[in-house]
């Protein structure tokens, strides 16, 4: 099978930083129709090549960056790329996706994946110039913030290059550390720390090659249909007008906007934080990632001191806004800018700050524990001071920056309201007010996540009653498969607000020529890939015991709003989901189902 005529470059670039060696190998040809690429390829490589029990920050942990068959074509949002590794924040499988321009550059340089392992002796920058690959010293970059390092790389390499960069928290192995790609990020689960543990400060890439599709005429036609579907969608129109923040007020009205560390689901300051407010007062220009017809990114007008960002996104605004009780747009912009400068995840950082605020208000910690700070909900100055400490790893920031699960181990009284699953801080939809989403958080292979199949359509797609549990296991299973297909073809999920699986199937079949006779055959890829990710976690000792939510969701009824009185009845949904997936009641995929999915090699006696 000539994979290089089917959307692929048919090449995996393997870099061993310990020995300073580079190797290029072809893709596992037989596996590609099974897993497609992107997430599927990452999950396949991580599970097959990495032994069990490798500590996340050990040199042997692989950092796998990957694109899909559609990456670099004209498909809507085809600049997406991802990374897969074992997370230092959770110890689980961890995949992240980002837009920007680096993914297309990697593909044009001639690679479907980049597998980095080992540890360099000195700070290093990996230089990929089409087929030329080199490791260069990065001593002058080490210790620099993200924007400073990006500027230095621009001076050194000039235009036409795309860079992945980490900040000082990544160098120090902190679990909040992200990988930056322009203003876009691979943010969750501490992937920046994995890169930093390898002493890899940056990956710069230039690609001038081509991507060849299998059936050019059919692909051209599929493109036309896909673009039309994306353009003729009121959701994508709203994304362009108000960014990801277009949903904030709807989530609030549904009583699902996490407020003051998830104590409530309604925020009185929601109007000030809405996309419409940011558009009126703060945004000045749209930003699009590679090949994106939507352009949901927004640049802010500089504040008085010149601070400006691309953002904020909904998740950042929830985490620092409603969840910290802050309704001040300027403060959100400054908090976001601080995270972007040092290179840390805004969701996790915001949830940590909210927990610190609740702990202080309850008297679990005092100013003496917090370097003299007295953070209360709504106090933007205290939030800024805390984030600065967390980003620098100084004073109380050192232990706060380990994440809410670690904080709860240090202060066990805080455990009932430490908002995380498997060690990853929770994103911005209150589980008590959206039951399918609650199931999604509990199951997600990388810890609490809204992007691993969480059924957000119950909140703003009108798909079902958000408070009902009935039918949610099936809805989650369908959404999870669809999401995994999107991540494996490697398009941005926002394109799915116009395209359905049908349009994606038309693109994938024309691009790869793979034998997927119906849309359902492509959907199966999604189930297979999610199962592979689950298998990685099972091998690392995760099972049903970890598919759970904090006590605040399971036993503490929401006090007000449309979801007042609600808690999450998780067990029935969980068990129904296991049954639908063919997993046993410990949450482990059965041998029978693995065989049915074409994963017989993964069957082991447990």
């Amino acid at each position: 099978m000539e994979l290089n005529r089917r959307g692929y470059a048919d090449c995996i670039l393997r870099v061993d930083l310990t020995h300073g060696t580079v190797e290029k190998t072809p893709l596992p040809a037989d596996a590609m129709p099974l897993v497609l690429g992107g997430k599927g390829l990452g999950a396949w490589l991580l599970y097959q090549e990495q032994p069990a029990g490798v500590p996340p920050l050990a040199p042997e942990n692989r950092l796998i960056l990957h694109v899909g068959p559609l990456t670099g074509t004209s498909a809507p949002t085809a600049g997406r790329f991802g990374c897969t590794t074992r997370s230092p924040a959770t110890g689980t499988y961890c995949d992240n996706y980002s837009g920007g321009y680096w993914g297309a550059a990697l593909k044009y340089a001639g690679y479907d994946a980049l597998v980095v392992h080992g540890q360099a002796a000195e700070p290093t920058v990996l230089v990929i110039d089409d087929q030329q690959v080199a490791l260069e010293p990065a001593g002058d970059l080490w210790g620099l913030t993200v924007p400073k390092a990006q500027e230095r790389l621009r001076e050194r390499f000039g235009s036409g290059w795309e860079a992945l960069v980490i900040g000082p928290p990544g160098e120090a192995g902190r679990p909040l550390a992200a990988i930056f790609n322009g203003s876009r990020t691979l943010a969750r689960g501490g992937v920046g720390a994995v890169m930093g543990s390898k002493r890899l400060k940056a990956i710069v890439t230039r690609g001038t090659g081509r991507v060849h599709v299998y059936d050019p005429e059919r692909f051209r036609r599929a493109l036309q249909l896909a673009f039309r579907a994306v353009r003729m969608s009121s959701e994508t129109t709203l994304l362009r007008q108000e960014g990801s923040l277009n949903i904030l007020e709807i989530v609030n009205v549904m009583g699902a906007l996490p407020t003051r560390n998830f104590r409530e689901g309604e925020f009185e300051g929601a109007a000030a934080l809405s996309g419409a407010s940011f558009r009126r007062h703060n945004w000045m220009r749209d930003y699009a990632c590679f090949a994106c017809p939507i352009a949901c990114g927004k640049y802010t007008r500089p504040l008085e001191d010149g601070t400006s960002i691309e953002g904020p996104e909904y998740e950042t605004t929830y985490a620092f806004g409603s969840n910290c009780g802050i309704a001040d747009r300027e403060a959100i912009i400054r908090l976001n800018a601080l995270c972007d400068t040092y290179g840390i995840d805004t969701i996790s950082t915001g949830v940590i700050v909210a927990l610190a605020m609740e702990m202080f208000e309850r008297g679990l910690v005092t100013a003496a524990d917090l370097d003299g700070l007295e953070p209360r909900f709504g106090d933007a100055r205290a939030a800024l001071a805390l984030v600065e400490k967390i980003a620098r790893g100084e004073g109380c920031g050192e232990w706060l920056g380990e994440g809410v699960a670690a904080i709860a181990r240090r202060y066990p009284e805080a455990a009932p309201f430490a908002m995380h699953v498997k060690g990853l801080e929770m994103p911005g939809y209150h589980p008590n007010a959206a039951k399918g989403t609650a199931l999604g958080y509990a199951i997600s292979e990388r810890g609490a996540c809204h992007l691993r199949g969480a059924t957000l359509s119950e909140l703003f797609g009108g798909a079902a009653d958000p408070l009902a549990t009935e039918g949610k296991a099936q809805l989650f299973r369908d959404t999870q498969a669809k999401k995994a297909v999107w991540d494996s073809a490697c398009l941005c999920y926002f394109s799915a607000y116009g395209m359905t699986l049908k349009e994606l199937w038309q693109l994938v079949v024309a691009c790869t020529g793979f034998d997927y006779p119906t849309v359902r055959d492509l959907e199966r890829v999604g189930e297979r890939v999610s199962t592979l990710a689950r298998l990685f976690n099972v091998r690392e000792g995760f099972d049903r015991r970890h598919d759970t939510l904090p006590p605040r969701n399971l036993t503490e009824p929401l006090p007000n709003g449309p979801a007042a009185g609600q808690v999450v009845e998780l067990a029935p949904m969980l068990e129904e989901y296991y049954r639908l997936m063919g997993w046993d009641m410990r949450g482990i995929p059965t041998a029978e189902r693995l065989r049915a999915l074409g994963l017989e090699w993964a069957v082991v006696e447990r």
């Binding site: 991507v211 969608s233 009121s234 129109t237 277009n246 220009r285 009108g462 958000p466 849309v519």
Partner: protein, 424 residues
Amino acid sequence: MWSGKQVRFDRLFNRHGDGRAVCVAADHGYMSDVTPNVVRLRPIVEAAIRGGVDGILLSPGQAMRLADLFRGRDGPALIIRADWMNMPRLGTSNVANAVPQRLLFQQKVVTAEQALALGASAITIYLFLGYSDGVEATGVEVCSRFVAECRKVGLPCIIEPIAYGRKVTGANIVELLTLGARMAVELGADALKIPYTGDVDTFRRLCEVAGVPVLVLGGARSDNERDALELFAEALEAGARGCLMGRNVTKSPDPERIVAQLCAVAHRGWSVDQALRGEVWPFVRLKAHRARCTGCLLCQTACVSAHEQGAYGLSSARLRIEASAGHDGHRILFCTLCGKCLAACPTGALRWNPSSGAVELLPEKCDRCGACVQACPTGVIAREEEGWPIVCDLCGGEPACAGICPTGALEIARRPSPFAATLA
């Protein structure tokens, strides 16, 4: 009874004697946000009538207020929306400002007799599939009651199947709509209003399965003017008998023009390009609006694939987007047809192509000196590995870069003939 229905059916479908109808749906007012197209409906409906619309779908209240617009034997047919539902308020983005609701409801609003009294030539009602068994059962009951009422008073009944809810996925939506089409016909629908299935083949099957006239609906408005026209042209090709376009008309800055374009496609058999431009443009040029550029580079990848069959990339594209530092936006660099390369060429290897009017390279005359590359003020003449210049050929008259541009930052504009002077 039969003749009454036929008269009304003809008023809708046979104003041009071709069995086709271009209709506008303007019944959004009692289901979604209070948007300008809802509040200021009169001028929009007037514009649609000037554009030659065949039928207009209104809520009962708007039908009363706008009754005067339907006067006269050449007036458009009135279609009444006979039921109400709250789908746009189920937390979807159509209603950012309204209170979202949690469960789907459908409610009968008028009887067939009342619709007839309002002057209706037809009514439409929804049939929901995929949300829940209860909603589907209610829909079947409501539809069959309307069919019976319509039969009594001689009013055509248009049923609108909608696939919506947690059981609807990209894997089953076409099958659900096709099933819904047949269900509606079995219930007694005289015609259907139905969403496009996305491609000609599946929609052709749907039309065949239905066996009654099908009106395609448009969905949300696209910023790309081609989309609604292309969708309609495809639906007609598949066997549809017309359209019931809503937001693509009512939210358009120029509803009269889009209706006239739809009519040209339906009744005069014009191509989408011809309808868009109102005429055939023998020569075109590219036109840029820098402020609209988001820097997505789709123009560059489209340029490469238009010239290298099945290949996508950025390098050696015939135009270039340059990101400038800071927040100043992007520069769009493309062939402006200035002719400096022709003037600079020492061997006469470049000329205006006689059919497209674009720059053309005559390789047999080119000695690869690179003078054209130096002369190009926008720097968009690239060179192949062996040194041949790569010039923009405007894709022979349909530039792919402008075709894919999602924001209208690159547009195709009419160009006066480059040969006019010579001919004179």
